[in-house]
């Protein structure tokens, strides 16, 4: 290689107490390279980012930038050398305008006291032109879509004279089309000489965008090379250290003529959702795809008794059902696992057991007090069923990994004798290994208990592999259905991009 690597790490180690977060890691990033960093939660990806951005000082090893050893890399030094990190939360200011979000960074670096709005505006305009995107400069960032915010964050990094932009899980909140647009921007940046380090756990994206791939497991680099040397299987294997069953879920035999577990007839919710009719049979897993805002979550919440202005008929096991509250929904056998389990689904500081019995508290407290023994026994059974890895049901949920937290949320509903389980983003933020186990648990439940499952997900491979059929939703309506052999990732992709065609991004 003629020019030295932009950044080179040699034998970097970092420990926290007794935990080795990074163990003798070496890697290098060439200028204008698109590099992907893969690994499960806790594999050391975040620590590595923080070492490169100067937040953490490594315990051992050296960091070279442009071929020179950098002694003490602190955040300011890292930024001065052109490293910009876009965290998952983007760190934007929601109430401020696009213009201001873009120029504040630069003015701060220039140590300005005054604010020159005219110049800031010009800078903002130029950088957006450079990225070849158009955004309303005077809109406040909170009014932008997730994709728009992502663009603001990228533009801000570019304005800061970035030579390397590190993006932490940048596509989590984006739909397929938006991801494609972001990739276009990333390639433009590359053409302008900016290197990108992607942190992701989505195989498809890694394979599509990156030139090189580095895989971490337990704080060590376990694989590295040009992307051509990898395929999904190989990446998964490197990340988890084992082969996963990626085969498709065999749909259970559903005998026609059985009463549907859940039936919707012409259901509408306010102005958001119109005229939804569907039937879900016992043991069926039905996927719901569509872009954010298509009404999927509104529909799920309405079935769970959280909807307003619900019209049409809902039937559970053939009986009319019109929930006015969550309590009624739970009594009718409906269970809902929300998108954001941290804020909507769990009491983080309480134990697994407290969380587990919370959805059916009345059942455990027939009189005034809680039947401790029953609660303990049933929680224990759920704990084992869901294969939760934790010291025991008495530890606080906040100490669990994302995958284990999700098992608690799902497991909790099984203790309520749920008949219809609605999963909204069942494996968001859950790593590959855990994901597969959660899927197989869900399938076990549909088989053994005749549970009907609605799975809402942006993860198309997840839908394609785990559902009997997938319904597409757009603008509050059902727009199509894929089933049997027609249900493939590609078909889903096509269906989704077709329905978003012509919409402003």
């Amino acid at each position: 290689m003629a020019s030295p690597p932009l950044i080179e790490l040699r034998g970097i180690s970092k420990r926290f107490g007794g935990v080795r977060a990074l163990d003798d890691v070496s890697m290098s990033l060439a200028p204008a390279e698109i590099h992907c960093l893969a690994g499960e939660n806790g594999s050391g990806k975040s620590t590595l980012i923080k070492v490169i951005s100067g937040v953490y000082q490594p315990d051992g090893g050296e960091i070279l930038i442009d071929g020179e050893v950098v002694d003490k890399l602190d955040p300011a030094a890292s930024i001065a050398r052109g490293v910009q990190v876009i965290y998952q939360d983007l760190s934007l200011f929601p109430t401020l305008t696009v213009v201001e979000n873009l120029f504040l960074n630069t003015y701060l670096r220039e140590r300005r006291r005054g604010v020159d709005w005219g110049r800031g505006r010009k800078m903002a305009k130029e950088v957006l032109e450079r990225l070849d995107v158009s955004l309303d400069l005077d809109a406040s960032v909170e009014t932008l879509s997730a994709a728009g915010r992502q663009i603001v964050a990228i533009a801000r990094a570019v304005l800061a004279d970035a030579r390397l932009i590190i993006m932490d899980e940048p596509t989590t909140a984006l739909t397929g089309r938006e991801v494609a647009r972001m990739f276009r921007i990333v390639r433009d940046l590359q053409a302008q000489g900016i290197a990108i380090l992607f942190v992701s756990h989505k195989m498809r994206e890694m394979l599509e965008i990156s030139e090189r791939l580095t895989v971490f497991r337990n704080g060590s680099k376990v694989a590295e090379g040009p992307i051509a040397e990898f395929d999904e299987r190989k990446i998964t294997r490197a990340m988890t250290g084992r082969d996963l069953n990626t085969g498709r879920f065999a749909a259970p035999e559903v005998s026609p003529g059985t009463t549907p577990r859940l039936e919707l007839r012409g259901v509408g919710i306010g102005k958001d959702v119109r005229d939804i009719s569907l039937q879900i049979l016992p043991g069926e897993v039905v996927g719901l795809s569509g872009r954010i805002g298509a009404g999927r979550t509104a529909l799920a919440k309405a079935i769970f008794g959280l909807g307003q202005e619900v019209t049409g008929d809902i039937l559970v096991d053939g009986k009319p059902y019109r929930p006015a509250s969550v309590t009624e929904a739970i009594d009718a056998g409906i269970a809902y696992v929300p998108e954001d389990r941290l804020s909507e689904g769990l009491f983080l500081s309480r134990s697994i057991q407290d969380n587990a019995i919370s959805a059916a508290l009345d059942g455990y407290a027939p009189r005034l007090w809680i039947d401790r023994k029953r609660a303990r026994d049933e929680t224990r059974a759920m704990f084992d069923d869901m294969q939760i890895s934790a010291p025991g049901p008495e530890v606080p949920v906040s100490t669990l990994s994302g995958g284990n937290q999700q098992r608690v949320v799902i497991g909790r509903w099984l203790m309520t004798d749920a008949r219809v389980l609605i999963l909204n983003g069942p494996t968001v933020g859950v790593d590959v290994g855990s994901k597969e186990q959660i899927h197989s648990i869900i399938h076990g439940l549909t088989r053994d208990k005749g549970l009907a499952v609605i799975m809402i997900s942006d993860d198309l491979p997840e839908l394609a592999a785990n559902c009997n059929r997938v319904l597409a939703m757009a603008d509050g309506r059902l727009t199509g259905e894929l089933t049997g052999d027609a249900l493939t990732e590609d078909a889903l992709e096509t269906a989704l991009s077709a329905e978003t065609e012509g919409e402003p991004a």
């Binding site: 760190s91 934007l92 200011f93 929601p94 109430t95 401020l96 504040l104 701060l108 604010v115």
Partner: protein, 325 residues
């Protein structure tokens, strides 16, 4: 629709509608003498509101400023009486500095211990009020003891008009002080990085740290300015009413916070403007004023102010939540 995204336009509209309505109910509203007294009533509340605006943009709530105003006013007036000092500039400077120093205490505690501003300022308010009453005194300084220069300053008019019967009435010159302060705060907020850091901090404190704002400095700016404005306004108040009462300003925090919220500032931080606040103060004072003109008992005014606060908070909360989706 775009126009209504701008909160200031909406508030101006409410202001105009309220003025027209009040004028129809009570034509006396439009008399110059009433308008002048209305403007006069804006000054002290307005100065304090500018401070509270800063705190609210930064995402906090300040209930300590009435206590700081009392401290600035009472310590300085008692000091002037004690040392038989008669003047204007140095006393106001002192009152401002006392307020700023007390504000520094707020800023220090809030930043250092990462504590909720409401609780911190509740505490400092109580401590400061107690110290003033216990350490300085509990008796009023009445008009006969008040330093002459302060009274003379408070009586200055910028414009004098004559009624039909030959008596005169004037527009207080203090309104100029208020306008000047509003202009300075406006420029600080919109044209300086420290001003923008207040918005950034209120929008997302963590993100503000990450882009490199010195958030400790932001907190000092916010709470010292709020304290300084309160101290200054306290002394100005006493020079305008020729009385220094160490138990003054009780319950004023509600009026001022209501005015700032009416002016479109968000209780969640990151939003608010000087123009909106000035209009919010005007609306509040105008409604209180017209309640008096209509002969409604003062106790009922508390009901109205409390109700207005709740309605305004509900509306802004609704707006801010809608914007989050």
């Amino acid at each position: 629709m775009r126009l209504f995204h701008n909160a200031d336009v909406l508030i101006a509209l409410i202001l105009v509608v309220a003025m027209v309505f009040i004028g129809l109910v009570n034509p006396a509203f439009w008399q110059m003498a009433n308008l002048f007294s209305l403007l006069k009533a804006n000054v002290v509340i307005g100065l304090m509101a500018l401070g509270v605006l800063l705190v609210m943009i930064s995402g906090g709530i300040d209930v300590s400023f009435p206590a700081f105003a009392v401290a600035g006013m009472y310590i300085v007036v008692r000091g002037m009486v004690e040392f038989e000092y008669d003047g204007v500039v140095i006393p106001f400077l002192f009152a401002t500095v006392i307020g700023a120093l007390l504000g520094l205490v707020n800023a220090g505690i809030i930043h250092k211990f990462n504590m909720i501003p409401l609780i911190v300022t509740l505490g400092t308010a109580s401590v400061v009020r107690g110290l003033v009453l216990g350490g300085i005194g509990t008796s009023n300084v009445n008009i006969n003891q008040m330093p002459d220069a302060l009274i003379a300053f408070g009586r200055t008019d910028v414009l004098t008009l004559e009624r039909a019967n030959g008596t005169t009435f004037g527009l207080t010159a203090m309104i100029l002080v208020y306008i000047a302060a509003a202009l300075v705060i406006h420029l600080l907020l919109t044209r300086t990085m420290i001003g923008r850091s207040v918005y950034a901090y209120g929008a997302d404190a963590e993100a503000a740290k990450r882009v490199g704002f010195n958030t400790g400095r932001t907190m000092i700016f916010v709470y010292c300015t709020a304290g300084a404005l309160a101290g200054f306004a306290g002394l100005l108040h006493s020079s305008m009413i020729w009385l220094a009462n160490p138990r003054d300003f009780v319950g004023l925090e509600l009026d001022v916070i209501a005015a700032v919220v009416l002016g479109g500032a968000s209780i969640f931080g990151g939003r608010g403007s000087v123009l909106g606040t000035v209009m919010g103060v005007f609306i509040l004072v105008m409604i209180q004023n017209s309640l008096i003109l209509m002969g409604i008992d003062t106790t009922w005014q508390r009901v109205v102010v409390g109700g207005m606060l709740i309605v305004a908070v509900a509306i802004t909360a609704l707006r801010d939540r809608r914007a989050l989706v």
